[in-house]
């Protein structure tokens, strides 16, 4: 029977299958960070268990880490205690940890691919919903809770129910200035913030195939914002070229064997998807969210919607609540919304290509004097590469702040936060109420819209800058 890519990867990892029970799935790589793991390690200790495969486990510090003074102890005692707990647990259980200051440290979803630990056809989990990022390599990668973290540590497996299959096909050529972030925001707006519940999404079509690995990671990263259990893209030459030569990629004869296997990781002709969504790349334009979930987005050329125009009562109420929180009036052109802060970074858009795109727009220009711009590389590796390319100088000369690596302003767990009422244009993944700090208001955008917005102080597409 023809199978989808996700079904192939899933089936290849079934350890045990029994009628009326979830399948037991083998996990090839377990990524760990400080926030969702301490209670799992406590559980192991309480039960007298060990980590079954420390060598299939990799830990980093990312959510709590300050992006300034990174070589000093963390000032916040609660954050510091959490990071120290991870250090103790990693040492006790023999797990590799990339701590603050280490050359491999960074956001968990940036370092996996960077080290070559993320490879096609693998199952990858992490106590973090943006684990879907790794699906860009044709891996089945998904976020789990702390109880499941403990389960994977103890057994290297996870009980799972077979997901439904969704195809999101994007054919055609993306217009100039339209990026992967705009594609995924448009997808989420179309299917809704939980519209892909129960499904794994496979992104396919000529527009997807044309994307770089960084761009594919941006798309897969936000699969969870449509409610999907995972999102993936079939591996191809772009994938192999990205991986070859990375520290943990196969070498020599192993490389050839791996590539031969990876080439078979494609959805078979005639495989059936439970749900299909189609987008025309040529019709897409820079996208921005206006509300408080990632599904509440529109093209930047549009206006703030009127809740009265929503037919569904729940959607209408959600729009009313969102506009009240966001401090927006229906009918306001999105391009007239002024922002206080621009955040470029996160596991969605904190990779080298994202920084290059933004630097190209900022080069030789100045950030609007009323606007603060934070540029936060997703990892130490990205930071060093950007500095080697002189991008840090471009940002600093434009008046932006160049920071150390971490999750930063994506979520309110470290010192980088919005103040109550402040408004941001952010390349991160969530515009939930208070996500970037208590009372903060978030508009999700692409790196190029973020850079253009930093120059004008209001939501701006790169094309709007021409002649400005």
């Amino acid at each position: 029977m023809p199978k989808t890519l996700a079904e192939k990867v899933y089936d290849a990892h079934v350890v045990r299958s029994a009628e009326g029970e979830p399948d037991l799935l083998y996990i090839d790589l377990h990524l760990v960070h400080e926030v969702t793991s301490p209670q799992a390690f406590d559980g192991l200790r309480a039960a007298g268990r060990t980590v079954r495969h420390p060598e299939l486990t990799m830990a980093t510090e990312d959510h709590n880490v300050p992006t300034l003074d990174i070589l000093k102890p963390i000032a916040d005692p609660v954050s510091r205690a959490q990071v120290e707990a991870l250090r103790r647990n990693a040492a006790e259980f023999g797990i590799r940890l990339a701590p603050m200051g280490d050359r491999d440290q960074g956001i968990v979803h940036v370092i996996g691919p960077q080290l070559g630990l993320t490879q096609p056809g693998m199952t990858i989990v992490c106590g973090d919903s943006h684990t879907s990022t790794h699906g860009a390599f044709g891996a089945l990668a998904f976020g789990i809770g702390t109880s499941e973290v403990e389960h994977v540590l103890a057994t290297q497996t996870l009980p799972q129910y077979r997901p439904k299959q969704m195809a999101v096909t994007v054919d055609g050529e993306l217009p100039e200035g339209v990026s992967a972030k705009d594609v995924i925001l448009a997808v989420i707006a179309k299917i809704g913030t939980n519209g892909a519940a129960g499904h794994v999404i496979e992104y396919r079509g000529s527009a997807i195939e044309a994307l770089s690995m960084e761009a594919r990671m941006t798309i897969c990263n936000m699969s969870i914002e449509a409610g999907a259990r995972a999102g993936l893209i079939a591996p191809d030459q772009t994938t192999f070229d990205f991986l070859q030569g990375r520290p943990h990629a196969p070498q020599g004869a192993d490389w050839d064997a791996a590539v031969e296997h990876w080439r078979s990781l494609r959805t078979d002709e005639g495989a059936v998807f439970d749900t299909e969504v189609v987008l025309d790349a040529a019709q897409l334009s820079p996208f921005v969210t206006w509300g408080t979930n990632p599904g509440q987005g529109l093209p930047l050329t549009e206006r703030v919607p009127d809740p009265a125009d929503f037919a569904d009562e729940n959607e209408r109420r959600a729009a009313e609540q969102a506009l009240a929180y966001m401090g927006l009036e229906p009918g306001t052109p999105l391009r007239e919304i002024e922002v206080d802060t621009v955040f470029l970074g996160s596991c969605t858009n904190g990779r080298i290509e994202d920084l290059r795109v933004a630097a190209d727009l900022l080069r030789g220009k100045k950030v609007d004097p009323g606007t603060r711009m934070l540029v936060v590389p997703g990892s130490v590796g990205v930071k060093l590469q950007a500095e080697a390319e002189g991008l840090d100088q471009v940002f600093v000369e434009a008046g932006a702040e160049w920071r150390g690596a971490g999750c930063s302003m994506c979520l309110g767990m470290n010192p980088d936060q919005l103040q109550p009422g402040e408004r941001s244009a952010s390349t991160s993944n969530r515009n939930f109420q208070g996500r970037q700090g208590k009372g903060g208001r978030t508009h999700l955008v692409s790196p190029s819209v973020a850079a253009a917005t930093a120059l004008t102080g209001r939501l701006t597409a790169p094309a709007d800058l021409i002649g400005a």
């Binding site: 350890v15 009326g20 979830p22 037991l24 083998y26 090839d28 790589l29 926030v35 969702t36 209670q39 039960a47 268990r49 060598e55 299939l56 486990t57 959510h63 709590n64 916040d76 205690a81 959490q82 707990a85 590799r96 491999d104 070559g116 490879q119 693998m122 106590g127 919903s129 976020g143 809770g145 702390t146 109880s147 499941e148 403990e150 057994t155 497996t157 009980p159 129910y161 913030t193 939980n194 519940a197 129960g198 969870i224 409610g227 520290p247 943990h248 196969p250 192993d254 490389w255 979930n293 729940n314 109420r317 959600a318 609540q321 309110g412 767990m413 969530r430 939930f432 109420q433 208070g434």
Partner: protein, 201 residues
């Protein structure tokens, strides 16, 4: 994990859709390394900023069943959201649709998530708004929700139901299949990556 068989309590109507786990418990509360004591963070922004928020109203202060709008628990995988609801006195959440990770996490800690059609949720909202003291019984044995003269059935996977009824943890169950795990490991390709030893540099 505490077993769940049946629960009777009053219910609070949360008329909001797509309640994300950042609202259930904001990130700043996730810095703690304990598994309990998260009740102070439960819906803290809404409890602080909205005086008429449903859980601020005395008639719903003791509710142990939360009846929410569609798409409850979206966003972050934080299991702390489940812990905070349990710590805040809730044993059951009812919604027409849950986010997958939240629903999965709830089964690991003994919080029951019950999926009902939206019209049943609306009817339950009407009943508990008309009389906040209405007892609501959620029976996992018979897979029913009962309030007043109304009884509605709900679906739950037999395996998950069994685990909840028995209060069983997954790790112990999986360890019974160690031989299957070892057999699988013996056939994994040798070129699959390992994080140790550290390579490159």
């Amino acid at each position: 994990m505490d077993a769940f068989t049946t629960h009777t309590g009053t219910a609070a109507p949360l008329r909001r859709s797509a309640v994300d786990t950042d609202q259930i418990i904001p990130a700043e509360y996730l810095k703690r390394i304990t598994r309990t004591g998260f009740e102070d963070g439960l819906f803290v922004a809404w409890r602080t900023n909205e005086p008429d928020f449903v859980l601020n109203r005395p008639e719903y202060a003791d509710a142990s069943v939360l009846v929410a709008g569609p798409d409850f628990g979206t966003g972050s995988s934080r299991e702390h959201a489940v812990w905070a609801l349990l710590d805040g006195g809730f044993r059951v959440v009812i919604s027409s649709r849950f986010a997958d990770i939240f629903k999965n996490n709830s089964t690991k800690s003994g919080l029951l998530t019950v999926t009902l059609p939206q019209e049943q949720v609306e009817a339950l909202w009407a009943a508990i708004e008309a009389d906040p003291a209405t007892p609501v019984t959620v029976d996992l044995q018979s897979k029913t929700v009962t309030y007043g003269a109304t009884t509605v059935p709900f679906e739950v996977e037999d395996y998950i139901r069994w685990r909840l009824l028995e209060g069983l943890d997954d790790v112990g169950l999986t360890e019974r299949h160690l031989a299957d795990i070892e057999a699988y490991e013996a056939r994994r390709p040798s070129w699959l990556p390992r994080a140790l030893p550290v390579l490159g540099g």
